[in-house]
Structure formats: structure tokens, C-alpha cells
């Protein structure tokens, strides 16, 4: 079976959807040269009318995409760097995502916002290192964070076909992941449906994005002493609460591993909801970034600020000790 890499999966999803639906087009910076590797071959295949090179005008072209969507197209907008999503937060959260509401259902904005390089990159500095995904869920923007190439393909396809704005985060740390696949088996993955990557009985680890692979490695390492279930929500918003509840019904213990900031982060919401509504027999734990930003310039400083396998293993042991 052929290998599919993470970015190739994104590239394949883009190509397949553009082939399938002439309303789909992509715009962004340096997309002709495929700087992020997502658009390799697409300019040649679909031409400059559908692979749109933009000037450095993120706010302008994000609103522009909203307009094109209002007129019936299905834009994909690519941003190279996470902080650009802060620049266009207004355009996504306050404009595009409110059109359905403000029009009373008359209009729809099927735009996909693609962030192929989310998260920390060694020594690229404070402005290239963020994981701003919880912000979008907070404002009700559909958000996905695929962990594997197959899920990256399936979630991106679904995002493009969805009638609402969807933000797709592709974590840099997951780019190295490859999978053996049968291309014909690649299929859309529904939004809001999580995936149990590994079944277990003692503790549920909710992990998102590249953290899924860390969680699987830790689960394997601890397999002789602890049975760890790894649950990947895949979609951050809307979250698969039923999937989480089913897992906790079995394990009753919860650790969340999340590469976003701690304060009002994704892990905070998962813990709060689990504490209120689900079966927990011990206090849950979080393994996240600190409250605030990762510094970005010096790997020795930055690495301990990001959730890692050692921290997760400690948290799993602690949650197993605890009881209510």
C-alpha cells in the first residue's frame, strides 16, 4: 500500500474537491509556488482562475472570500502563519460566521480557512508559534484539528463541503506522520465525531492534533501497568461530547493533552464539561501550554513549555492515584 503523508493528504483533498466541484477555489499567499506544500501541482491542474495568488492583504482577502461565498462559490483561504488568524479574527468570527444568523438563514458562507502550519517551529520567534484554535470554538466557528493524514483528508473534504465557515488547523508537529492507505478508501470524515485511536479501561486521554501521537506512544509505553484509552475529538467545535461521555463511562478518569494555552483553552472546556456532566471517579488533569504564549526563539526555553510525553505520563499516574 502507498504511503500518504500529512501534507500530501491535504494536497490530495484540495485537488479532489476542486475536481469534483467547480465552485471550489483556493486563495492565499505564495500558493502558486506552493510554499506550504499544500498546493503542489494545483496551479498547473486548475489554472490561475482557481489558484489565486493574493497580495499581503489578509483582512481584505478574507472578506473578499466571504463575498465570493455569498455569490455561490466555495473558497478555501490559506494562511501561512498562525498569528494571521488573529489579524483576520474579525473577518472570520464577526463577519463570515455571523452571516447565517444576521440574514435569518437567507445567506450562507461556505468558506474553509486552511492553516497548514499551526504551532511552534524551532526558533521562529514569538509571532510564529501560537495555537489559536480555542478562540474559534469560543466564538462558535467550526474548527477541526486532524491528527493523521487520513483524517486530514477526510476533515478537509468535509470542511470544504460544509455550508458554514470552517477553520482547519494542520499542526506542524503532525506533518511528519505518514500512513499506509488505499487511496480509493479515503473518504469524508464527519464534523463533530471523535475517534478512539486506542481502546483502554483505566483512563481516557483526550488528545488533539499532534498530541494524539504523543498520547499513543505514552499509552504503548505504559501498556503493561495501565490501560489507556486515547480519544481524539478531531473536531474541536462542535465537540463530540457523546464520544467523550462513552469513554468516561468506561474509564471514569480523564487527562487532556492540548497544545493550546491553559487559560480558557480547549482542555479547560473539556474538563469543565466532563466534571459537570460525565462520570469521573478521580480529579481530572490537564497537560497544556502555560497560561500565555510560548516564547518562540530558544528551543531550550520553549520545549518545556509545550505538552510532552513525560508530562502526560506523570498526569496519567496522578489521575490513577486520585479518587473521589
Amino acid at each position: 500500500m502507498p504511503y500518504l503523508s500529512y501534507l500530501r493528504a491535504i494536497n490530495r483533498a484540495l485537488g479532489d474537491e476542486m475536481e469534483r466541484d467547480p465552485a471550489v477555489f483556493l486563495m492565499g499567499e505564495d500558493v502558486r509556488e506552493a510554499l506550504t506544500n499544500t498546493t503542489i501541482g494545483l496551479l498547473k491542474r486548475f489554472g490561475p482562475e482557481r489558484i489565486i495568488e493574493t497580495p499581503l492583504s489578509e483582512q481584505g482577502f478574507t472578506d473578499f472570500a466571504t463575498g465570493a461565498a455569498l455569490a455561490g462559490l466555495r473558497p478555501i483561504v490559506e494562511y501561512q502563519i498562525p498569528f494571521l488568524l488573529l489579524l483576520v479574527f474579525e473577518q472570520i468570527a464577526n463577519q463570515a460566521n455571523k452571516v447565517s444568523l444576521m440574514s435569518g438563514g437567507q445567506a450562507r458562507v461556505p468558506v474553509t480557512y486552511l492553516l497548514p502550519a499551526a504551532g511552534w517551529r524551532p526558533a521562529w520567534g514569538a509571532q510564529h508559534s501560537d495555537q489559536p484554535y480555542p478562540m474559534f470554538g469560543h466564538f462558535g466557528v467550526k474548527t477541526v484539528l486532524p491528527a493523521t493524514p487520513v483524517d486530514a483528508y477526510g476533515l478537509l473534504v468535509t470542511a470544504i463541503r460544509d455550508d458554514d465557515p470552517v477553520v482547519v488547523f494542520a499542526p506542524i508537529a503532525a506533518h511528519k506522520v505518514q500512513e499506509n492507505v488505499v487511496f480509493a478508501d479515503l473518504a469524508p470524515v464527519p464534523l463533530g465525531v471523535g475517534r478512539v485511536h486506542r481502546e483502554g479501561a483505566d483512563v481516557t486521554v483526550v488528545a488533539v492534533g499532534h498530541c494524539v501521537h504523543d498520547a499513543l506512544a505514552v499509552a504503548q509505553d505504559m501498556a503493561e501497568e495501565i490501560s489507556v484509552e486515547v480519544f481524539d475529538p478531531r473536531t474541536l467545535y462542535p465537540f463530540d461530547w457523546d464520544g467523550l461521555a462513552a469513554s468516561l463511562e468506561k474509564t471514569g478518569r480523564l487527562v487532556v493533552m492540548d497544545d493550546s494555552n491553559r487559560f480558557c483553552g480547549l482542555a479547560a472546556e473539556v474538563l469543565a464539561t466532563a466534571a459537570e456532566e460525565m462520570r469521573l471517579v478521580a480529579p481530572p488533569r490537564r497537560v497544556t501550554r502555560p497560561d500565555s504564549a510560548v516564547l518562540g526563539c530558544v528551543p531550550e526555553l520553549d520545549l518545556p513549555l509545550q505538552p510532552d510525553r513525560g508530562q502526560l505520563a506523570v498526569a496519567i499516574k496522578e489521575v490513577l492515584k486520585g479518587a473521589r
Binding site: 482562475e49 493574493t54 497580495p55 492583504s57 483582512q59 481584505g60 482577502f61 478574507t62 472578506d63 473578499f64 472570500a65 466571504t66 463575498g67 465570493a68 461565498a69 455569498l70 455569490a71 455561490g72 462559490l73 474579525e90 473577518q91 464577526n94 463577519q95 452571516v99 447565517s100 444568523l101 444576521m102 440574514s103 435569518g104 438563514g105 437567507q106 445567506a107 450562507r108 458562507v109 461556505p110 462558535g140 467550526k142 460544509d162 455550508d163 458554514d164 463533530g192 462542535p238 461530547w241 459537570e276 456532566e277
Partner: protein
Amino acid sequence: MDEQAGAAEQAGAAGQPESLQEDLYRTIALIRRFEERSIELVRSGDIVSGIHPCIGQEAVAAGIGAALRRDDVMMANHRGHGHLLAKGTDPGRLFAEMMGRATGIAHGRGGSFHPSDLSVNVYGSTGTVGHGAPMAAGVAWALARSGTDRIAISIFGDGAVNQGALLESFNLASLWQVPAVFVCENNLYATTLPVQDAVAGSITGRAEAFGIPAASHDGMDPEVVLEATAGAVARARSGGGPSFLEFKTYRYEGHHTFELTAGLHYRDPEEVAQWRSRDPLELAGSRIPADRRKQIDEEVEIVIDTASRFALDSPRLDPAEGLDYLYSSGLRLRSGVSGG
């Protein structure tokens, strides 16, 4: 309905076709009386939001409305009632929208500030000043791609011309030669800020810097507005790219009806009086026979009475529907109460 349908048709002007002047007067009168009635409905508490009245600026909306086809797309703004009415929106459903009634164009979810009416191709009214311009550029680009000769128009105020996203959209629109018309209604104030304290250089110079043909016109004369807009629309329709029009106009009322009680002093009453002496309602009225004017006034009064009655008699919204329409896909959300 045919593609030229507009306020004249709304008014039920059956019988002999109206002259252009009569049509423009009817639209101006309709907007004027709509806004005056709206202010009464604000005072009575039926319109809770208050409104951003466009009284004084009606000639711009009327002229633009007459220059557009029904299938052309408009992005309006927070002072947008006149734009929608000139595009052909039903006044009763607009009143209902502003009152938060079930029969509103957007079931009350757009309100006075963010109305849209897809049935007449008004795609929205953004509250973030100036952001309708990049959206209109995107609409225009998409329309051109689809091979139609429809165009998109964005209407914004002088406050918008210092917004980055708007200036970015001028660049994109010119670069890609999209069939868009950008219209600045310069009413001299961004809320309380006078234009001379806000705009370095000139308003038209902003568009010219991006290679967009730009001109400034009298916005109190609907025929001037119509002629200028028709030229820009024809240019866009024929593949000639975007244009920019500045219309100098004035709002007689405050930025928002909160000024009825706020006691602000940013405008000289003499300045207001001076602009009132060039009232577009009087200017347009003076160009048609007195008996026709009287007849149109009576017809408009009936339209406004019928429309406001329709809205006042319309059902209120069910509080259980507060999360409706948030997603086109019908996604339902958790409530704000645990276990709810």
C-alpha cells in the same frame, strides 16, 4: 417581477408609467417617511435598538437604486434602510425586521443595523465600518467569473475610508478588475468626528491611488447621483473594472437616535440649517407637477401606514428560537446552563 422593479412598484403605482423624476421623488419620499415613522417607533419603544437615520441622505439611495438592476448585488451598511428601500425591499418586512418580529426579512436577526434582503440582492450590511467593500469586491469577482453581467455595489460612509480592509479591497478590485462600484456617502461626520479631522489627503484620492477612476458629486440631487452611478455601473457591466464615487451629503438627524437625548454639540445648528435648505425631498419635489407630488405623497403615506401596521401586528419571536439560524448546516448548540 421585472428587473427594474423598485420603490415605485412597492408603492403600487399602477396605471400610467411614472417619469424618472416622479420615480426618484417617490423613492426619496418613501425613505423620508419610513425614517420619520421609524423615529416615532423608536420613541414608542417598538424599535428597541434605535436607528441610524438617513434623513437628508435619501437622494444617494434613490439615485443608486434607479441605476441598478434588481439582480445587481448591494452591500449596505448600518445606515442602510434607505439603501434597502431603494433596492426594492418591502417596507413592512423591513419595519418588522427592525421591531424584531417573525415576519422580518431576516426573522429579526439582522435588525436595523445589519439588514439583508436576498430577494432584492442586498447581501448584507456590516457594522464593522468599511468591511462591505471587500465583500462586494469578492461578490463582483464571483459574478464576473460566472459569466453574467451583474455587478456589485458597496455603500459606506466617510468613516470607512480610513479602514485598512476597505483600502485593501481597492487594491484587490483594481488588480483583478472586478465589476464593482464603491460609493462613499460623505455626510461629513463619522459619528461625531468631522471629516476634516479624520481624512488626510482626499477621499477620492484613496481610490485613484489604486488606479480606480474616482469622482466627487453632489449627493443631494438624485439625478446627479443617478447619472454618476449609471456611468460607473455601465463601466463595471461592460468589463471596464471598478469605479469609486463620492457623494457629498448630510444627515439631518444624529448619528443614531440616542442623540435625541444625548445632547451632543459636535455640529453647528447653522450648518444643519444650511444643508436643510438643499433638502433632496424639496429638490426632487420641485421637478414634478404639484398634483403628482400630492398624489405620490398620499400613496407613500398609505404604504407607510400599511407597512408599520403590518409590522406592529406581526407575531413576536418565540424565546425558544434564540439559537435558530446560527449555522446554515443546522448545527444545534449547547445551552448556557449546565445540563440544559
